[in-house]
Symmetry: C2
Subunit: 175 residues, 2 copies
C-alpha cells in the first residue's frame, strides 16, 4: 500500500482526541489495568506516546533530513517514559500529548517534504538502513498499534465477567 504523507498526517493529528474520547474521565480502574508485570496499562500507553513525541519521531526525522556525518539513531528505550511522567495525572498527560503532537504535526507539515526527501536514509542501530518515509509510516502504525493495545488491555478486565461469551471475543485472549 502506498504511503501518502497527507493520509499519514490525517491519522497522526487524530490520535490525541481519540485517546481523550476513550480515556478522559473514565473510572481509575480502566486506566490502570494492565496485562501483568511489565505490560502497559492505558495510562502507560499515553506516557509511551508522549515519550515518542519527545525523543523518537521528529528528532529522528531531523537526523535524516540533516544528512550530516552521523546518521545513526540512538537506541530507543521503550520503558524510558516512566520517570518523565511520574506524578502526573491522566488529564495532564492527555493535554501534554495533544500539545506535543500538534507541535510535531505542524513541524512535519511545515517541511513540505518531497518524494526525494522521503527517500533519504539513516541507520537504525538494530534494523539497518531505513528511510524517512518508513519512519513516518511507522509513526502512524505505532499510534494505531497503541490504540489497539489500549482497547485490548481494557477489554481484558472483563475476561471473566463475560462468562461463556469469552469464546466469541478473541480480543480477551490476545497478546
Amino acid at each position: 500500500m502506498d504511503f501518502q504523507l497527507d493520509e499519514a498526517v490525517a491519522v497522526l493529528e487524530r490520535t490525541p482526541d481519540t485517546l481523550r474520547a476513550l480515556l478522559g474521565g473514565l473510572p481509575e480502574a480502566w486506566i490502570t489495568a494492565n496485562e501483568g508485570p511489565e505490560t502497559f496499562s492505558a495510562f502507560d500507553n499515553v506516557c509511551h506516546l508522549i515519550h515518542g513525541e519527545r525523543t523518537d519521531w521528529i528528532p529522528r526525522a531531523r537526523i535524516i533530513l540533516a544528512q550530516g556525518g552521523s546518521r545513526r539513531f540512538q537506541s530507543y528505550d521503550r520503558f524510558a517514559q516512566a520517570g518523565e511522567s511520574a506524578g502526573k495525572s491522566l488529564p495532564e498527560l492527555l493535554d501534554e500529548f495533544a500539545r506535543r503532537r500538534a507541535e510535531n504535526v505542524a513541524t512535519l507539515r511545515g517541511w513540505h517534504l518531497t518524494d526525494t526527501e522521503l527517500a533519504l536514509e539513516a541507520e537504525h542501530p538494530e534494523l539497518g538502513v531505513v528511510t524517512l518515509r518508513q519512519l513516518l509510516a511507522t509513526w502512524v502504525a505505532h499510534d494505531l498499534g497503541h490504540l489497539a493495545q489500549t482497547a485490548r488491555v481494557m477489554a481484558k478486565r472483563y475476561r471473566e465477567a463475560v462468562g461463556p461469551w469469552r469464546r466469541y471475543l478473541p480480543v480477551l485472549d490476545r497478546r
Copy 2:
C-alpha cells in the same frame, strides 16, 4: 475482575465519540481498507456496532428482564448489517451509532438494575445459560474489541510501508 455497572456504562457512552475522533473526516482509503475477503473495514466495524444497538444488547437484556416463558435468544448474524447500512455515508453512520447508543445507555441507566436483576438468566442458542451481568460485560468487551480491530485494520495499510520496523510492530501481523 468484578463487573460494576457504572464502570461499564462509562465505557459504553464513550465509544461513539472515540470512533468519531478516530474516523471522522479521514481520507476514504483508511475507512475502506480491510484484511481480505469477509473481513471488516473501519466502515464495517461501525455498521456492525449499529447492528448490535438495534438487535443485540438491549433487546436481549429485555428478554432476560421480562423473565417470560421464552428466554432463548435468537441467533445473532454477525454479517446482517450489510443491508441495513447500504448507501449510507460514514458521517451518517457515526451519527446513527451515537444516537442509538445514547438511547440504549439511557434505557440501561433508567433500569437502575439491582444485583438480583443482574443475576437473572436466559438461554443463548450456542452458549447455554448466560446472565444479564455477562451480557452487559460482553457489550463493553465487544465495543473495545471492535475498537482494537478498527485500529489494527488501519495499521495494516502500512505493513509494507514501515519497511524493517515491521518486526517491532506486532499489530501489523496480528489477526
